[in-house]
Symmetry: C2
Amino acid sequence: MSGKPYHHGNLKREFIEKGLKYIDRYGVESLSMRKLAESIGVSSAAPYAHFANKDAFLSAIREYITDSLSDALRSELEACQDPTKVMLMLGRRYVLFFYENPLYFQFLFTRKDIDFISYEPFLLFRPVAEEFLKGLHGKQLSGESLRCKTTAMWALVHGLAQFALIGGVLDKNNLEQEINSILCAVEV
Amino acid sequence: MSGKPYHHGNLKREFIEKGLKYIDRYGVESLSMRKLAESIGVSSAAPYAHFANKDAFLSAIREYITDSLSDALRSELEACQDPTKVMLMLGRRYVLFFYENPLYFQFLFTRKDIDFISYEPFLLFRPVAEEFLKGLHGKQLSGESLRCKTTAMWALVHGLAQFALIGGVLDKNNLEQEINSILCAVEV
DNA sequence: ACGCAATCTTATCACTGTCAAGATTGAAAA
DNA sequence: TTTTCAATCTTGACAGTGATAAGATTGCGT
């Protein structure tokens, strides 16, 4: 008879989406399960039917973000077929993703147990980088040297992403051009 | 008459040092003012005579860590006079610092208000990098290009520091050699 | 129609950061 | 020396947190 039904229906998804929005606006530190539950209009214990604990909930959000990033990179990959340019485009997209959602970066990499091996954006990155490097240096590029150069490119792009969301290092008025210039400034 | 005096004497310093140790072992997430106060043997409100709030306390620890890192870089700077090698040594020291204290990295860069402009390690880094780059490319290096290359070197070193403390990317059995190889893999 | 498993609520627990009020102290000022 | 005052610390409280147990409500398959 009352307005709300006893069962919400899509509580899990709504929790993830609202949590994502909250982090985007205020950061993780001040996010609480209770506030989130109240803002959805559900009791404070309700989320624990869907997430084992707060950490599991945050992991779900992280997965959501990582998937979004991976999707963005994949679409970039499909859009650009030029193998000499796709490297740059991927790096630029990676940096811009975190620039557009500054709080996501801190949120994603604020854990003791980060696992870069199964970090999908880099799994997408690696073959492209290797292809790119082979095209650049020919086949005399040894396995060891190839690995080092690939890692260096990862580190450069990832480090640049951190700078992009922090004031003062990059010129924000001309960000895309800036990123291009920096990524092109090194020769691997 | 009892064992402990009413006044601790050096509570502020002991709080910072114990907090540092705790973060090094368990991470920031589980650090609480109360537990820390109890482990020191002081009441839960005692720290608030020295720190405005928990955030101010954490900032003090961050400053402590950044100072330690800066000191390490400075001593590296003094030890190595060869301008062609000091670049590499600085980068290596930076990465190794965070490798030796893995939880410091997450702790330092987990804030909304990071300010890389006044981040002393990079203030030390910049002139060395510029000197290095000028020696490499001569004086035809434009101001814009110099800035981009310097930023690229920052990003590479900083990004590599993040990888170093995470399993799977770098070969930990041969870390120093690994870092050398990667830093040398790019030409700026 | 029945019953079960998923979902949600209520009540409660231990714990957290923080503050106000007051106790204790060292050191400067008289 | 005595007085006084600011710094320091304790006690006791408050609201807010994550989490759990016990029970209410519901949709769905049989």
